[in-house]
């Protein structure tokens, strides 16, 4: 990243919300993290209903409110960001500008007020329960209770000194008001009827929180201190949602499966000056153990899988901070409580790392245009919500702790049009933000979007008939290719020779130029091969129409992929861009030719399979490409072995992506044809960033260890990404280099600098803030089991390549054994029989077992080498949510879908059936089940399935007449059909690839694939879940 010069000249700063065209339906959640600032609190909760327009409505929320929120903001922030000169403080409150300082006398009032506010919440049992637990503890020591007070969110601005005991407070941990997704997770498990109507719930909560909050405000504040900011007091309450919390805590009464771990978090808030560490100690002194700290005997818990999708745990931060924190879909850490030292991390035996999805399509993304991008002068961190303002003129970097000046221009807030509020700028209010980069961030003028397509046209390729599909899809989407008037496009085809297509203006039809010298490839007429898309559209369309027919009589069986790639690289190197390669067989002539290495008989032995590339040609070429900002995407459509291990390097190191369509054939395999069509459409039309680099910074003391994903690591924290696409995920392993003493929180920042398809240089910055903990118990408490599984999968891929597959499998099992035995020996005081696991890791063995049974790591003969390697590529390149789905599919019963608890999106009703465990015992012969395994879906119809379902949904008269390879549901005019189709298409819309639906019955050949995904059951070569647990127990208790 080129260093941005510090420009102090005040310049016009604009601020505009960007509505992303590619919007995933379920991502309204993004809204809460992105488009808005503090005043937007309420709109956070109604993101789908009200598109957030940060520039207008939100920020001008009303004068008085703004003022109050300002003070609230300053005070609630533990990072100490007082609005300068606003309030004169008593020394006790020096950490923040605290608008409400509740004196003891008011405390008594505060208690009833908040408890009364719980009544509308309608969950008195939970309340009393917790009151019972908490009150005694909070009584004796005034200062401790304060944390709870904070937590409660009822009084987020309370200073430590106030000593108010608020029984309601314990609820805080259950919810972060900023996060609708969490609310969902809490709602679901506890309640029988599964309230899934997010928007509705949110509205509901909104109402509740408002009223109760309002009630609270009516209490007068009798103390002069309060009167000082008296005009604020009334209004500062709206941010306090006691009722809201109460409403969202019904998860609690459920006890069994409710995610209580978050409530428990007895750790201190990251409030540096408040020195809150003692709370942990005081908690441990209590006999009452919070539910989240509960450990679970895995051998006894039969129904451990939650019935709703698992949500990321919420970092145990002050709600004001957590509200600003990065969306877990974009940025996620394996341990939401960062261990203070490497020794503690080693003790926990859990991997520390980040999982990123930095370029995800967002529905709400604030974009800042400013001549000065404010960054730390020493570590170049972008200013973010977690920095602290020492005064109005200086801010302290949260990564290196250097004190920086606030530039003059930054003093003016373009959103509120107020001068002197640097802490209210969008940069400081959004953890995810995009900057328009000035020219200092360009090494050269932004490149035009350049797309080059390289087609295999050997006999084998023509046989598969892929060219027809690809040409047609390309033709249909030519206008949708991201770009502008500068977009360039070109085509190369190859068999044993290389064919270029001159699309020069003035030609009546495209001219084919054949280069047969594949030893020393040269480019004929380079200026006419890559042409402007808009100016030459007719020629291009003409070419695409004729291309499929041009080689139908070709008898050439050789494939010169290597030379063709070299030619493509030469053609692209002046500009950079994207090369899309379609290959159908093993390259056989010229440089980079490969030999078949797969020996079908030896598939079984996990030892001797070829996961490493046989040549470094593709890797070297990829590095050359990377240097010239060229990315190569590989589409492999092959029936035979094509050595993806070697070929894949071309995409892996040039930040491309790999697509694999096994046994593609236009007639014999129509399913793959549809898949290719759909995925190619997404591929062509999705957003793209060119000449990108991504840098990940973290607080001093932490360091990056290893990166996972498709890229070239240019330095220890800089990834070179010639192209970046919204479907790519990355993982990072971290280590604690220096002890994080005296740091209550740490932050991570990823900055992605890219050129958009419109030729703008942009920087997308994500910042995440996490608390630091000192005890092992807290580390386990904050473990994010999905992220851990994702990171372990990435590490296991590396391990299988560098060592062997069996090594990787052992490492995965050991990861579970080590962490659980560390938990047993270090955390559990009473040794109980059985296999104890912390609540946060209760799904860990199941997920690891799922990984072991996944195609990438499974043993057995039924998986082909290329398929295995492709799955490994996916593990490395997929964002976490899809990786988890691929690993542990979701199973739903679909023959009795109801509208109860359904989601409502754009007038569509989407039923939300509960997720079932992946075990045959959950299947019944008289039902129909849908298994969603990410890139493929199976619908298994039981033999005695209701006639109603068979005729109303499948549209066939009886069970026996279900066709053998049915892949589509007919659109029938029945309620059942509408529901099923709505549900399936909703699942499909959430992902960039197109999962094929296979409808299978007992006799179908695909039934084995379906049963293969039944992870909890025993298969020929793998243990069942229970056996696996026993195995782990044996090892743990050793």
């Amino acid at each position: 990243v080129p260093d941005g010069a510090e420009n102090t000249a005040p310049g016009g700063a604009g601020y505009s919300p960007v509505q992303n065209s590619l919007m995933h339906s379920s991502q309204m959640l993004d809204g809460q993290g992105f488009g808005s600032t503090v005043p937007g609190l309420y709109s956070h909760q109604i993101p789908t209903k009200v598109p957030v327009h940060p520039s207008s409505g939100q920020y001008n929320f009303g004068g008085s409110q703004n003022v109050s929120l300002l003070s609230n903001q300053g005070s609630g922030q533990t990072l100490n960001r007082p609005p300068a000169g606003l309030i004169s403080m008593a020394p006790l409150q020096h950490t923040s500008s605290v608008p409400q300082m509740l004196p003891p006398s008011q405390n008594s009032a505060a208690i009833p007020s908040s408890s009364s506010s719980f009544v509308p919440g309608a969950y008195p049992p939970a309340l009393s329960n917790w009151q019972y637990g908490q009150t005694p503890m909070s009584q004796p020591t005034g200062s401790q209770t304060n944390h709870f007070a904070h937590v409660a969110g009822t009084l987020p601005t309370q200073p430590l000194s106030s000593g108010s005991t608020n029984p309601a407070t314990s609820y805080q941990y259950t919810v972060s008001p900023g996060g609708p997704p969490l609310q969902n997770s809490y709602m679901k498990p506890g309640k029988k009827d599964k309230v899934n109507i997010r928007t509705l719930v949110q509205w509901h909560m909104f109402g509740l929180s408002y009223t109760s909050g309002y009630k609270t405000t009516t209490y007068p504040s009798p103390v002069p201190q309060n009167l000082k900011m008296g005009r604020n007091v009334g209004y500062s309450y709206p941010t306090l949602p006691p009722g809201y919390q109460n409403a969202s805590s019904p998860g609690a009464p459920g006890m069994q499966s409710s995610p209580l771990q978050y409530q428990a978090g007895p750790q201190p808030f990251p409030q540096p000056a408040l020195g809150t560490n003692h709370i942990t100690g005081s908690m441990s002194g209590l006999s009452l153990q919070p539910e989240g700290l509960r450990s679970i005997n895995l051998l006894q818990e039969r129904n451990i899988l939650p019935t709703t999708p698992l949500q990321a745990p919420v970092p145990n931060l002050h709600e004001e901070i957590q509200k600003l924190n990065c969306n877990p879909e974009l940025f996620r850490c394996t341990l939401t409580n960062i261990p203070q030292t490497q020794a503690l991390l080693n003790k926990a035996k859990l991997p520390l790392g980040l999982l990123l999805h930095p370029f995800k399509d967002l529905s709400q993304l604030p974009v800042v245009t400013s001549s000065t991008i404010v960054r730390c002068r020493s570590c170049r961190t972008y200013i973010n919500p977690f920095v602290s303002f020492l005064d109005q003129r200086r801010w302290k970097c949260n990564l290196c702790y250097r004190v920086n000046d606030v530039p003059e221009e930054f003093m003016y807030n373009p959103v509120t049009r107020v001068y002197g509020e640097p802490h209210k700028r969008p940069e400081v209010q959004n953890a995810t933000i995009e900057f328009m980069a000035p020219s200092e961030y360009m090494l050269r003028p932004p490149q035009p979007p350049v797309y080059l397509f390289v087609f295999d046209v050997s006999h084998n390729a023509i046989e598969t008939g892929y060219l027809t599909t690809v040409s047609k899809t390309l033709l249909d989407n030519l206008d949708l290719l991201p770009g502008n008037t500068r977009t360039k496009i070109g085509f190369i085809t190859f068999d044993s020779t290389i064919h270029f297509y001159s699309l020069q203006e003035g030609l009546s039809q495209p001219q084919m130029l054949i280069v047969s010298d594949i030893e020393d490839v040269f480019i004929p007429m380079p200026e006419n091969l890559l042409v402007n898309l808009n100016e030459n559209k007719e020629l291009i369309q003409d070419l695409l129409r004729t291309l499929p027919q041009m080689f139908t009589k070709s008898l050439e069986t050789q494939s010169a992929l290597g030379p063709a790639l070299q030619a493509a690289f030469k053609l692209m190197s002046p500009t950079g861009g994207r090369i899309s390669v379609f290959q159908t067989q093993l390259p056989s002539v010229g440089v980079g030719s490969l030999k078949s290495r797969e020996e079908p008989n030896q598939r079984a032995s996990a030892k001797d399979i070829h996961l490493t590339p046989s040549t470094d040609f593709y890797k070297k070429l990829a590095l050359d490409c990377s240097g010239q900002q060229v990315a190569v995407d590989l589409f492999l459509l092959s029936g035979q072995y094509s050595d993806l291990a070697s070929l894949g390097c071309i995409s892996r190191y040039s930040a491309g992506s790999v697509y694999y369509y096994q046994s593609y054939h236009h007639q014999h395999n129509p399913v793959q044809v549809e898949k290719l069509q759909k995925e190619l459409k997404r591929y062509l039309t999705r957003k793209i960033g060119f000449e990108a680099v991504m840098r990940i910074r973290c607080t001093k003391g932490l360091s990056i260890h290893t990166f996972h994903g498709n890229f070239f690591v240019r330095s220890t924290d800089l990834l070179s990404l010639p192209n970046v696409n919204p479907d790519a995920g990355y993982a990072v392993q971290m280590s604690v280099e220096e002890s994080l003493t005296d740091m209550p929180v740490v932050s991570f920042q990823s900055a992605l600098l890219y050129t958009s398809s419109k030729g703008e240089r942009r920087i997308r910055v994500h910042t995440m803030c996490l608390p630091v903990v000192t005890t092992l118990n807290d580390v386990y408490l904050g473990a994010d089991v999905q992220a851990i599984t994702g990171l372990l999968a990435n590490m296991a891929v590396d391990r299988s390549v560098s060592a062997s597959l069996s090594d990787a499998r052992d490492a995965l099992v050991n990861a579970v054994i080590d962490s659980l035995s560390a938990y047993r020996s270090s955390v559990l005081s009473i040794q109980q029989p059985g296999l104890m696991a912390p609540y946060s890791l209760r799904l860990f063995p199941l997920h690891v077992l799922a990984l072991l049974k996944q195609k990438a790591f499974q043993t057995g003969t039924n998986i082909r080498l290329d398929e295995r390697i492709f799955t490994m590529c996916q593990v490395k390149n997929q964002p976490l949510i899809f990786l988890m789905l691929m690993t542990h599919p979701n199973l739903y019963r679909v023959d009795n879908l109801t509208d109860e608890g359904a989601l409502n999106i754009n007038d569509r009703t989407i039923p939300q059936p509960p997720i079932l465990q992946l075990s045959v015992e959950k299947l019944s012969r008289d039902g129909a089940y849908l298994m969603d395994a990410g890139s493929v879906m199976f619908m298994w119809v039981g033999k005695n399935c209701g006639q109603n379902f068979v005729s109303q949904v499948l549209g066939v008269p009886s069970y026996v007449s279900i066709p053998q390879n049915m892949t589509h549901l007919p659109e029938l005019e029945t309620a059942e059909s509408t529901r099923t189709i709505a549900f399936i298409s909703w699942l499909r819309e959430q992902r960039p690839f197109f999962p094929i639906l296979h409808i299978i019955r007992d006799e179908s050949p695909l039934k084995s694939s379906f049963l293969q995904n039944m992870i909890e059951d025993r298969t020929e070569s793998a243990l069942s879940y229970y056996e696996f647990l026993l195995h782990i127990q044996q090892q743990v208790n050793k």
């Binding site: 990166f707 240019r714 220890t716």
Partner: protein, 148 residues
Amino acid sequence: NIFKFVQFKFLLCSYLITFDELKTDYKNPIDQCNTLNPTVEKVKKIKRVKIALKLVLPEYLIHAFFCVMFLCAAEWLTLGLNMPLLAYHIWRYMSRPVMSGPGLYDPTTIMNADILAYCQKEGWCKLAFYLLSFFYYLYGMIYVLVSS
């Protein structure tokens, strides 16, 4: 006499190698102290890695040449001391990643913290070894000079 001459040459060469090794180290103490500006440090680190990539082969060759010279001079003890390192070098080169050209390090994995740390440790160990052997050769040479 020939023996002395050979010893002297060793001296020079070993000095050269030591010097090389110093450069080969990615992180010198000055940089380690210089935590004020981590980015600068990182840039320097990368440059040093690049130098290391170029220097690794000459170092191996010079060391191998030494061993041959010791063999010629029938310096069995010295040769014995150098054999483990020679063996290590050979093993290291045999187990290098798949690569068409000469070289030892894979640019795609060198930035991995584990490998970087390993290379660094290796560099320091070798530096210590070369320094010790340098003094040993010096001692040998002076001993020969004095005794003759």
